[in-house]
Point group: C2
């Protein structure tokens, strides 16, 4: 099932987020959904959809005259793939060293920390 996730460029991610939120969607619906989130011309958005199709990250339904698009990978699958390569590149491959830095930097609120503790406890118990 989980074929290697192709690379998704930064601007392409914006499109994917919209499709994960809800799909299938027409190009126009994607354009509308991006109002206020990104400042792209409709043609640009169309190009991004085309590239995602070519990469097989997005599927297309051509039954109707106006095509509809949908993701071919789950969001968490893509997130995991990105996270893995990110951690490898930047933090020697381990979540822990990233987290250490965040904790030391006080980048987590007291509330976050409590929630994390609870999740950890639930897991470990």
């Amino acid at each position: 099932m989980a074929k290697e996730v192709p690379n998704i460029a930064e601007s392409e991610w914006e499109i994917m987020k919209i499709l994960w939120e809800n799909s299938p969607r027409t190009a126009n619906e994607v354009v509308s959904a991006l109002q206020g989130k990104a400042d792209w011309k409709p043609k640009t958005i169309r190009t991004l959809l085309d590239r995602l199709m070519k990469k097989k990250v997005v599927g297309v339904n051509k039954e109707q005259r106006v095509y509809t698009f949908y993701p071919l990978y789950a969001e968490d699958e893509c997130q995991r793939a990105e996270a893995k390569s990110f951690l490898k590149r930047i933090y020697g491959g381990t979540m822990k060293s990233m987290l250490v830095q965040f904790i030391e930097d006080d980048a987590l609120s007291e509330k976050d920390m409590n929630e994390i503790r609870q999740m950890l406890d639930k897991k470990s118990k």
Copy 2:
């Protein structure tokens, strides 16, 4: 002090890691240090150093005939910048949602979890 960190491409990160490990270093020393870590021709490594200089991420000392190179930003500074943009792009900007995923996926060992708990406790207390 902390000017906006310029973008550092993936292969450039390999070079930076070497320089953070120890610097200043000559190009040849960087080449040696990369033995077994990356499979690049010396010319390629030189190009990467040049680009990093142009981006002002790496400084150069030209006193001697053979230049020496050194980082202009601290590693943790660059890590934080990357982490921030990564989390924004992929996880809606919060460390917590990334961590939630990792915990749910059992991507942390029992030992990791314990260490994290201890760090959290030390912080919160």
